[in-house]
C-alpha cells in the first residue's frame, strides 16, 4: 500500500477511535487540594517580579540617552563641551567651598 493511502487510513483510524474521556476517582478533590497547598504570593516576590519587568525599559532608556548624548556631542563640533559642562555642574559646590575659604 502507498504511504499516501496509509496516511489517510491512519487519520481515519484516529477519527474513528477518539480517546476515552474517563476521569480518575475524585480528581477534582486532588486539584482543589493542590490549589489550597499553593503558597500565596508575598510582597517580596511581587517586588522582585516588578523589578525584573522594569529592567528592560530601564536599559532601553539608558541606551537611548547614551545615543542622544553622543549625537549631541558630535553635532556641536566640540566633544568636550558636554563633559566640561557636566564637570562644572558636579564640582560647582566644591568650587563655591574653595572660594569661601
Amino acid at each position: 500500500m502507498k504511504p499516501e493511502e496509509l496516511t489517510i487510513r491512519v487519520m481515519a483510524a484516529a477519527r474513528a477511535f477518539p480517546p476515552a474521556d474517563s476521569v480518575p476517582y475524585a480528581f477534582e478533590k486532588r486539584v482543589m487540594a493542590n490549589l489550597r497547598d499553593q503558597p500565596g504570593t508575598d510582597l517580596g516576590t511581587l517586588w522582585t517580579r516588578m523589578l525584573w519587568r522594569a529592567a528592560v525599559p530601564c536599559v532601553a532608556i539608558m541606551l537611548m540617552v547614551s545615543v542622544w548624548t553622543y549625537l549631541i556631542q558630535n553635532s556641536t563640533g566640540n566633544p568636550n563641551t558636554f563633559a566640561t559642562e557636566l564637570e562644572n555642574v558636579v564640582f560647582a559646590p566644591m568650587a563655591a567651598l574653595e572660594e569661601s575659604w
Binding site: 500500500m1 504511504p3 499516501e4 496509509l6 496516511t7 487510513r9 491512519v10 487519520m11 481515519a12 483510524a13 484516529a14 477519527r15 474513528a16 477511535f17 477518539p18 480517546p19 476515552a20 474521556d21 474517563s22 476521569v23 480518575p24 480528581f27 477534582e28 478533590k29 486532588r30 486539584v31 482543589m32 493542590n34 490549589l35 489550597r36 499553593q38
Partner: protein, 190 residues
Amino acid sequence: VPDEKTLIASILAGNAESFEPLIERHQARVFATARRYARVESEVEDIVQEVFVKAFHKLHTFRGEAPFEHWLMRMTVRTCYDFLRSHKRNREVAFSEFTDSETDWLERFTAETAADPANASMAREVVQRVFEQLSPAARLVLTLLEIEDRSVKEVATMTGWSAVLVKVRAFRARAEMRKCVERMTRQKQL
C-alpha cells in the same frame, strides 16, 4: 446547581470552593483532549491538573463573552502544546517502523470497520506511534484540523497563531506525516 456565571462570580469574589463544581463539569472533556497528546496516564493527569490550576489563576481574564468551555479548551490546547514541546526536548522518541500486524491492520482498515470496538486498541496504538514521530506543531495542527475537524479560524483562535500560520503549518505537517509514514513502511517495501 448554580450556573457557570454564578460560580465564576463567586470564585472571583474569593470563594475558591466554587471552582470544584466547575472542574467536575468540564474535566471529562479536558481529559479526552489531553489523551490525544500524551500517552502515559500520569502525564495526562499532570496536564489536566495544570490546565485547571492555570484556569483558576487566570479566571479574572475570562470576559464572559464566549462560553467558559471555549476559554478552557483554548487553555487546554495551549498547555498540551507546551507539554509536547517540553516532551520533545527532554525525551527523544525512538524511531520504529510499523510491525507486521500493524501494517496488516492498516491495510484491512476501512471506514466500514471503523465502528468495530475490537479495533480500538490497535487503532490508538498505530495513531500514537505515527503521531509521536511528528514535531509538536505538526501534531497539534493535524489533530485539530484533521482529527477534530476544526476550521482554520477555530484552530487560529485556539492556538493563538494567525490563520496564515495555521495554513502554512498544516501544509508542512501533512508533508511531514507523509514522510514519516513512508519511513515507517520503507523497510517492508524493499
